[in-house]
Symmetry: C2
Subunit: 250 residues, 2 copies
């Protein structure tokens, strides 16, 4: 460590296609997004570097704008760090921006909320070009019923029925700020904005809304699922490939 | 063959992601788009089926709307054929429409022209989600110079300099109806519309326009390349992944 190398806290905006990764979080001997980024930065700084992500995405989940922060000592300018990272990262991970942040900025603790988008294709012929980023549902969905059901989910609730971790000891109370369901050209986009989400929560919410869309559950029954605080009452966990982290709020 | 099974000529509109194929044309022991489709139809009809494509696309080239025709004997309705095909075709090939055509309709002989689009990404950070459908050019391109150069290529010319097959015995005269170059959000889209194209012609045209865009060749020099009737005077063959067959005209 020489004295003219400043230590800075950098904020990274990262986009990735999660298809071939075991999720965001670093794991030994597994390809993960955090792992890939840390490897590149560790090489750049010639020392072990750890980054802090705003959250974890599961295996196969994508991100348009994951936020992370990293404390590093380097003489490189932000745009040179950006260029270096994108030169050495694989094609399915891209750093969109690198900016200096205050020393106290913490990508996870300071995150006020997140928006996830779940993409369903409900048209006749499956589009080939973006097939890794949507889930195909053949049965015609009743989008209006799904919207009605989603109203019961918005607000602060105990989402125990929608938690993928059966051994969750901590509070399963979370707040969903909004659920917006848009449909266009055969696609259905479900946007979930909330302060925080439990493991698999968005995908279990989607699986449950899909039951409503298929007429297997009435919209108002979603309230009963919520009240039951029982994972077995909710729908299946929807496939990872349809899910994308859209935005993190600070 | 029973008497109430009619033989019909069907017109198919097909979309595919060519990434993992050795091109359109059937080849023994190789994965090709024509091969995949013929296998599904042969199983459906319980007899060997051959389809006729509007043209051939090279290995790795995509199509939004390839047109093919096929003479088949079946009692199935068009929409059932469509459903059957999409059920058994892999996710990277989709049949968009199946319609009955006149017996004389021939997808190749009747094609009056085609539009291909070549997609370049020339922005700073490579987008991750559609990375199999564009070619990344890091050096900032002079799009205006490329447009100027493209004007020399429009019209009926001997495109021998832009032909990938050095042993081509037949005429290398072709007519390019238009070349439109659009740029948006870091992407550059080059649309080539013509009556017919030689092997690798679009990709060699793109490779040459890229030389102009990089300042390695003046726009007016493209005329000299054309006049030379010599493949070595033109630019490199641009990568297959950026090319997509957009439309076939009848």
């Amino acid at each position: 460590m020489t004295e003219n190398i400043a230590q800075n806290n950098y904020k990274l905006k990262i986009s990735y296609d999660g298809t071939r990764y075991f999720g965001w979080e670093r794991q030994p001997n597994k390809e993960t997004i955090q792992g890939k980024i840390e490897n590149v930065l560790s090489r750049m700084c010639d020392t072990d570097i750890e980054i802090i992500g705003a959250g974890r995405t599961d295996a196969g989940v994508h991100a348009k704008a994951m936020i992370a922060n990293v404390h590093m000592e380097t003489t490189m300018a932000e745009e040179d760090i950006l260029e270096y990272m994108n030169r050495y990262l694989p094609d399915d991970i891209a750093v969109m921006t690198v900016t200096k942040a205050s020393d106290r900025f913490h990508a996870r603790y300071n995150a006020k909320g997140k928006t996830y988008c779940y993409t369903i294709f409900n048209g006749k012929v499956k589009p080939v070009f973006n097939r890794k980023y949507y889930t195909f549902i053949e049965e015609k969905l009743d989008v209006e019923a799904m919207r009605e059901a989603s109203d019961y989910l918005v607000g602060e609730h105990d989402f125990k029925s929608f938690c993928g971790n059966p051994k969750m000891k901590k509070s399963t109370i979370r707040e969903i700020k909004s659920i917006d369901i848009k449909s266009s050209k055969g696609y259905i986009y479900l946007y979930f904005t909330g302060t925080g989400f439990l493991q698999y929560m968005v995908r279990i919410l989607v699986g449950t809304l899909l039951m409503v869309g298929k007429g297997e559950m009435g919209p108002e029954e979603v309230k009963d699922v919520l009240d039951a605080r029982d994972r077995t009452k909710a729908g299946q966990t929807a496939p990872a490939k349809g899910l994308c982290l859209e935005k993190v709020y600070y």
